[in-house]
Amino acid sequence: MLAYIIKRILYAIPILIGVNLITFMLFFMVNTPDDMARAQLGAKQTTPAMIAAWKAEKGYDKPLFYNEKATGTAKLTDTLFVNESLKLFWFDFGLSDANRNIAEDIRARMGPSLAIALPTFLIALVTNISLALLLVLFRGSVLDMSAMVVAVMIMSVSGLFYIIAGQVLFSKIWHWVPISGYESGWSGVKFVLLPVAIGVFAGLGSGVRWFRSIFLEQINQDYVRTARAKGLSEIAVLFRHVLPNGMLPILTGVVVIIPSLFMGSLIMESFFGIPGLGSYTIDAINAQDFAIVKAMVFLGSVLYIVGLILTDISYTLFDPRVTL
């Protein structure tokens, strides 16, 4: 088990290097630092001197991969690639373009992100699975059919509308919850309620359909026929046989996103003014702060890979056929 985890972590390294290369190419090779300087300073009256000064300030004045001017190993290390990309490996995110410590910002903002994302995730999971099981129990009935129609309709509306409609109804018209903002601790619950409710509802359509299709696929398997031939009631068949087997495809789809919950939701946080990583990212994109975007890309990839490893581990817990 431990050996397997170590192996997986080693295997993640080339992937992270790949992620680094991709971001590096995007940020430094598609456009030269000169281009970025011009874009940042305003395309018009930029003198070469201003560009050079901007680059020097950001540390973008080094060559990409190979520094001829440096000596010894510094030829390879005193380069943009090492300075800007490889150091991400030890979570050294450096300073943002607005000269803030990115790592500190990230630490401070993970909490609020989780406060929204985690409850949304858990409530959605439980609701979706329960509703899906209910529909599978009544499969083919009017209830099932009409629920599927409603699910498609829920899926067909952009999440933005749910947020806007939710804010208008619950905050602006009925004044049940504040329209936006955040506080830590229990007093913050009122800020969290609406985004969580909207998040759960917006995902209901696709979620229920997905879980339902997983369970329906199981219900046609031979072992379910065996279970029925044993004399088990339909509910017992569902909970004792279909659900545990359905857990396997569910794990594949669900566990992988758990670590990414830290990243928060871009839209939700920005609409509700939650000071989490999602809104951090959006602000960075709007301010064209490349350093932050780069850091978030790397962080996102790391969390995704952690998710993949967790998925594999969860398989060993639920599927006796898989051993590590």
Partner: protein
């Protein structure tokens, strides 16, 4: 004994079921007496499994019962509310299925799966239930029952899984056991063990069995009475003895005749050798870990030597996993050979480059087991057959002439020439197998590897395909390497036979020698395990029937 125990155990009365407008079961009636083994025989799609599901009231939702009733000890099952039917299922009537692989829940220990039914119907405590499960495991001869109790299905072999299913079925001492093709997915030796086990337990406990199968020789071993189904109808019911002596219905007669197979083939004059395999080894590396280190090998074929003569048939017999299919693939140069030689007309195929191999691709061809996987569903029959001709440059070059050649070929395999423009899905399994044969013949091969070509076919179709293969051999002088697990067809088709076990050939020789006077223990076991129709009946039957 009260009066209720006098009549038959279960009556199936005028049962009809349909899906949409199509009638799937039509007025099916039979009863099963106490302690009787009742065999329901039929080809695929005849409705025999459907009958068993209808008895259990487990029909798929789309299928509805039109009329009829099932009475257990005189009590209508169809009239029961669902929860009471739940007390019957698994308790009074139990069931075992064809695929022990998929019939068990993969994420639950086998012990828990059997325990579930015990606790459900007998309301035992956990400890009592466990003790009972272990004693059941002992009864069905599962070794080390205490340990196996905590195992998952994937850790057990196919035969052991079927034993678990039997244990589950016996758990509540049912009155009726429905066995739906319980041994079809198993190797012959395992099949013999499972049948023996069923027989033994039935004797001890005295329940009734509804035995569903397509295999008449199994029927002759187990059944007290037999009913034959065709297209949703029962065409003949009789007790086993009279049934095998003289079936009345023409369909039944045909079925029995085809099951017997054609008579042994007459010895053919000796011919020069065509293919010679010398000490062939095919090993597959087992890769492990992130660096894909080879941590061992699977010796699929491990030192095989055999030779096939021009225009002759060599039967390659073995159980699943014996490496017989891999050997066929190696001769086709489709898997890398680890060691050894394959000499075709004296040329070692193993040493040839890809380009040099091309002419030999024409000389060695293949026919597959699964008629549905063997033909590309998106190509017309004409395109399928033309593919090899185009690739290898065989036959006429002009489009029209090639088309005519293909149509002629189709007629040769007893299909309509018009089939050329149709798609595979429009044909039945047997017809598809003929298309597969035509595809192989199109490039005028000298050797055809027949990889279980008849094992997915019903017995009547199987007889037709075998006759076709035989006729083609006589007409075209092509040699066959006939890979099969079915010993019963060997005498009818083969000149030589080789028996394979764990990658090696344990015995080979002429059919007469090997089948009648086997030397090796494994061959003897195989022959003994294969269910046979009674010898006397075979003889009697041939005397009355006239073969074309």
């Amino acid at each position: 004994m009260d009066i209720m125990n006098q009549g038959p155990l279960i009556n199936i009365e005028n049962l009809s079921v349909s899906v949409e407008e199509e009638r799937l079961l039509d007025n099916v009636s039979f009863d099963i007496a106490r302690g009787e083994t009742f065999a329901l025989v039929g080809e695929s799609g005849s409705g025999k499994s459907l009958t068993s599901l209808a008895i259990m009231r487990l029909l798929p939702e789309a299928i509805r019962v039109e009329s009829g009733d099932v009475k257990l000890r005189g009590k209508s099952l169809f009239a029961l509310p669902e929860y009471e039917m739940g007390h019957i299922r698994g308790s009074r009537i139990a069931m075992i299925f064809q695929e022990p692989m998929s019939a068990l829940n993969p994420v639950m220990t086998v012990g828990a799966q059997v325990e579930e039914v015990v606790r459900l119907h007998l309301k035992l405590s956990r400890a009592e239930a466990k003790a009972r499960v272990i004693s059941l495991f002992k009864e069905v001869s599962i070794p080390n029952p205490e340990v196996r109790y905590g195992w998952y299905p994937h850790q057990l072999s196919g035969g052991q899984k079927q034993r678990v299913m039997i244990a589950m079925a016996l758990a509540c001492e049912p009155d009726l056991l429905i066995a739906d093709e319980p041994t079809t997915a198993l190797d012959v030796t395992i099949q013999a063990q499972v049948l023996e086990l069923l027989e033994k337990i039935k004797k001890e406990r005295g329940f009734s069995i509804l035995f569903i199968t397509h295999d008449l020789s199994v029927v002759s071993q187990v059944a007290d009475r037999v009913a034959v189904m065709q297209k949703g109808r029962i065409v003949e019911t009789a007790d086993a003895e009279t049934f095998f002596k003289g079936p009345k219905h023409p369909y039944t007669r045909q079925l029995l005749k085809d099951a017997l197979g054609s008579p042994e083939r007459a010895p053919t004059p000796p011919a020069p050798s065509l293919l010679e395999v010398r000490n062939l080894k095919v090993h597959f590396p087992v890769k492990k870990g992130i660096l894909q280190r080879s941590s061992g090998v699977i010796k699929a074929v491990d030192g095989v030597s055999l030779s096939i003569d021009k225009g002759k048939t060599m039967a390659l017999v073995g159980e699943s996993g014996s490496g017989k299919s891999t050997l066929g693939q190696a001769i086709l140069s489709l898997v890398p050979v680890t060691e050894g030689e394959i000499l075709f007309d004296g040329v070692n195929l193993v040493s040839l480059s890809k380009a040099q191999l091309q002419p030999y691709r024409q000389k060695i061809q293949v026919i597959f087991q699964d008629p549905f996987a063997a033909l590309d569903p998106r190509m017309r029959v004409g395109e399928i057959i033309a593919e090899g001709m185009e690739s290898l440059g065989i036959g006429p070059k002009s489009k029209q002439a090639r088309r005519e050649a293909i149509m002629k070929l189709l007629q040769k395999v007893e299909l309509e020439a018009e089939a050329i423009d149709r798609y595979p899905h429009e044909f039945s399994g047997g017809q598809r197998q003929r298309i597969g044969i035509a595809r192989a013949l199109a490039v005028e091969p000298e050797l055809i590897i027949c990889d279980e070509p008849t094992s997915a076919l019903d017995v009547t179709v199987r007889a037709q395909v075998l006759a076709l293969l035989k006729r083609l051999q006589e007409e075209m002088g092509v040699a066959y390497l006939f890979i099969t697990h079915d010993l019963s067809i060997v005498p009818a088709i083969a000149d030589e036979v080789a028996v394979m076990q764990r990658g090696q050939i344990v015995e080979q020789g002429s059919v007469a020698e090997v089948m009648k006077k086997p030397k090796e223990a494994y061959t003897k076991t195989l022959l003994a395990a294969a269910p046979k129709l009674p010898e006397t009946i075979q003889k009697g039957f041939y005397d009355h029937s006239v073969r074309p």
